[in-house]
């Protein structure tokens, strides 16, 4: 885009103002992303007013339009520079998700605990079985199944911000989303074992990978506990209300960085930190992170970047795989939710809403175990075709994710307050 404009501007090479004008069109990654964010906000509000389209969808669409396959305003490799900030945006949202959970609920309602486990397992089993039946290699199918088990915590929590629902479905959605993301993360951690099946070193490797997974689980758990405890302790020392959001942000950055540094799971660490902070601080912990406009900007940045990473390459060849993956995943989650709806205290309509709201798919479990956004290079042994099908399915279910959640919580469950007619977003 930049090269097509520059020759025309060279017609007047001595004009200083136009020299100044040419600079931004060189599309510096920082300026390009800032421009994309600005457009995303304006477009999102307009489409929300006109079509009630969730703002998050518009943010992702603008990101997708700026990506190389579309307008090419930004390159995907540009995002590697932004990864710390994107990680922070994710970390803030995951910490908030943790702070909204009350683990005691799983003891008060054992059927709910079982339901949380089963919906992840059924979705994974359904997706994996369907892919193997279509001829996919077992190892690759298991990886796809692990990813299919999870629901995107980012889309869920950002949608909760947007819709402000109150009710059983939204609370169960957050609980299940946290549980299935952790299960998916653990599954991906031990997934390489499958690639070693049949090799002579399997026993030794099994021990190595199992101990590694245990280290990751326990280490993340302890680090999260420590993070929550430190936030409680620091907030008691610094009683000024305005300082709490700064403390929260610092704690989130510290926990996420340490988790990465020690090769732990930032996802689990931040969830546990949020849960611990909530149980220790109670009402002293603000529900949302209180980052105000900075937090909102981080969320827009995150969703624009998610859009930039979207891919539908190979859709024409891969669509049967993609549809089977999405369909099997839906069936697995819906079946588990429906089976345990009544004993766990959920009505049928609410069960339907929950099954729909669980559909936004997540690549987060994978992204958080990687150093950059180059999936395939970091998952050696994964079948490239199936991985691409997984990415396309992820693209579709992330882009449509806010729509699923909005439809489920607003229309089916009726848990969202009516928006005032003058809403401007």
């Amino acid at each position: 885009m930049a090269s097509s404009v520059t020759p025309q501007l060279n017609i007047l090479p001595d004009a200083p103002a136009l020299h100044w004008f040419t600079a931004p069109l060189d599309v510096d990654p920082v300026l390009g992303l800032a421009l994309a964010m600005l457009i995303a906000v304006v477009v999102a509000n307009a489409l929300h007013r006109l079509l009630r389209l969730p703002r998050l969808v518009s943010h992702m669409l603008v990101g997708a339009l700026a990506s190389p396959p579309a307008l090419g305003l930004l390159q995907r490799t540009d995002l590697d520079l932004w990864k710390p900030l994107i990680d922070l945006a994710i970390a803030v949202l995951v910490f908030e998700l943790g702070s909204r959970l009350r683990p005691r609920w799983l003891l008060d309602n054992r059927w709910l605990a079982l339901s949380c486990m089963l919906e992840a397992l059924f979705a994974a089993a359904a997706a994996g079985t369907a892919l193997v039946a279509m001829g996919a290699p077992l190892a690759a199918a298991v990886l796809a199944a692990a990813v299919a088990a999870s629901t995107s915590p980012i889309i869920v929590i950002a949608s909760v911000h947007d819709l402000r629902p109150r009710g059983q479905v939204s609370e169960r959605l957050m609980m299940m989303c946290a549980m299935n993301s952790v299960l998916a993360m653990l599954a991906i951690k031990v997934w390489p074992l499958l690639g070693l099946a049949g090799q002579g070193t399997l026993v030794n490797d099994t021990w190595r990978w199992a101990s590694s997974a245990l280290f990751v689980f326990c280490g993340s758990f302890l680090l999260g506990l420590a993070g929550g405890w430190v936030l409680d302790w620091a907030s008691r020392l610094s009683r000024h209300p305005a300082s709490l959001s700064v403390l929260q942000l610092s704690l989130v950055m510290l926990s996420a960085t340490l988790a990465s540094y020690w090769a732990l799971s930032p996802l689990l660490t931040l969830l546990i930190a949020g849960v611990t902070a909530r149980s220790l601080m109670g009402q002293r912990l603000t529900v949302e992170t209180g980052l105000g406009s900075a937090g909102a900007a981080l969320t827009v940045l995150l969703f624009v970047c998610m859009g930039l990473l979207f891919t539908i390459d190979g859709w024409l060849q891969l669509w049967p795989w993609v549809l089977v993956l999405i369909g099997a995943r839906f069936a697995g989650k819906a079946l588990a939710v429906a089976l345990l709806a009544w004993p766990s205290g959920l009505g049928w309509r609410q069960a339907l809403a929950l099954a729909l709201a669980l559909q936004p798919m997540s690549s987060l479990a994978v992204l958080l175990v990687l150093a950059d956004f180059g999936w395939s290079s970091q998952l050696p042994g994964a079948d490239a075709t199936l991985l691409q099908a997984l990415l396309v399915a992820g693209t579709l279910m992330q882009l449509s994710g806010p729509l699923w959640v909005q439809f489920a919580l607003q229309r089916v469950a009726g848990e969202c307050p009516k928006e005032p007619s003058h809403a401007t977003g």
Binding site: R102, W105, N109, R166, Q168, Q283, R284, V287, G345, Q350
Partner: protein, 370 residues
């Protein structure tokens, strides 16, 4: 619709209704989950009843009919346990208190039923502002005439129940300065206040017919009086109490009323008169505003006396009747609360200790849940 015949019921039997708050465990605001909890409690094992109220963040529970304090308290404990278990299963808290301290009325949702939609359309925003929580006590009476006599005789004691049960000092995030601000919401309704001074059931029937002919009322439910006859139950219903923060207090209030009714019926210390109502709204205001420290005026002697002292004297007068009714534990509870302060005082004490509003709701919910 004509007035129902008055059903005969055993004198001095009693039943309690409590309107309760459904609270979000995260931010302790009211949460519209009545349908979920009602569905879960469909198969509860008690003789008590649970039903919806005007907004989706409320439920109402009603005990079975009782004669004595201990079984009433036991049933309230059972109800409280089952309700708490159900609430925890749904990630909810349940709380007492006459108002929720910081809920916003405009965020409340009308419960989907014909009756509540009718009220909502008739009263507009008042219906949502009616998200307040009261305790109603029914006392059995053998006839309509007895009901009306007792209803008017009790009018002098209405401030006792307001002050003792007061638990609604905070509204929309502010300290109102009142001990019971709930009754200000009730008073906004056009048919609130006191019943007309009519002592015969036939005369009351004529009054009711005239009112229905105007189209202003359709049934007895449309009267929001402080005490009203309930012909289908064969009771009078005292409606001025805030929902207390504990079920023990709720049982004690009911039995104090039962003892007082026995005292009035058996000793007939005075005959009710229309003039009793000259000071009624003043005394009522004093109880709402100042609680147990309010001053009330005796309509006969014109003597001014602190409510706390008036209740002490009344407790002494009803002591024998409480003994006969096996309600001394209840009257002892009432006596203790005269010195310990009402629930509104407890809530203010917590706030003075630095509790935030959500933490205050959490603490009061912890007192209610078992």
């Amino acid at each position: 619709m004509p007035l129902d015949d008055f059903t005969t019921s055993a004198p001095l039997t009693m039943g309690v209704e409590l309107e309760l708050q459904l609270l979000d465990t995260l931010d302790l605001d009211l949460t519209p989950r009545a349908e979920d909890l009602l569905r879960l409690l469909q198969r509860h094992s008690g003789a008590w009843d649970v039903k919806p109220e005007i907004t989706r963040s409320m439920i109402e529970i009603g005990t079975s009919v009782h004669r004595a304090h201990a079984p009433l308290r036991d049933e309230l404990h059972d109800l409280c346990q089952q309700l708490s278990r159900g609430a925890r299963k749904l990630n909810l808290c349940i709380g007492g208190g006459g108002t929720h301290p910081f809920q916003h009325w405009s965020e409340q949702q009308i419960f989907p039923s014909d009756r509540f939609h009718y009220i909502s359309e008739l009263y507009g925003y008042l219906a949502k502002q009616f998200t307040v929580f009261g305790q109603h006590v029914h006392i059995g009476v053998p006839s309509g005439d007895d009901a009306l006599w007792l209803l008017h005789a009790l009018s002098r004691y209405v401030p006792h129940f307001i002050a003792l049960s007061a638990s609604s000092p905070y509204v929309q995030g502010e300290d109102t300065g009142f001990h019971s601000a709930r009754l200000n919401s009730v008073f906004a309704f056009p048919l609130a206040g006191r019943a007309p001074f009519v002592l015969g059931w036939d005369d009351f029937g004529l009054y009711f017919d005239k009112m229905t002919a105007t189209g202003v009322v359709q049934s007895m439910k449309d009267f929001y009086w402080d005490i009203r006859p309930k012909p289908e139950f064969g009771t009078i219903e005292l409606r001025v109490c805030d929902t207390p923060l504990t079920v023990d207090k709720a049982a004690a209030l009911a039995c104090y009323l039962q003892s007082l009714c026995r005292y009035l019926r058996e000793e007939r210390p005075f005959e009710p008169e229309e003039d009793d109502y000259m000071v009624y709204t003043f005394n009522r205001f004093q109880a709402c505003r100042f609680g147990l420290d309010g001053e009330v005026v005796n309509p006969k002697t014109h003597e001014r006396v602190k409510l706390r002292d008036d209740i002490m004297r009344t407790l002494a007068r009803v002591a024998e009747h409480a003994l006969d009714l096996q309600a001394t534990a209840a009257t002892d509870h009432i006596r203790d609360s005269l010195f310990g302060g009402n629930d509104a005082s407890w809530l203010r004490e917590c706030r003075r200790g630095g509790m935030s509003m959500p933490a205050l709701v959490e603490a009061s919910s912890a007192r209610w849940m078992m």
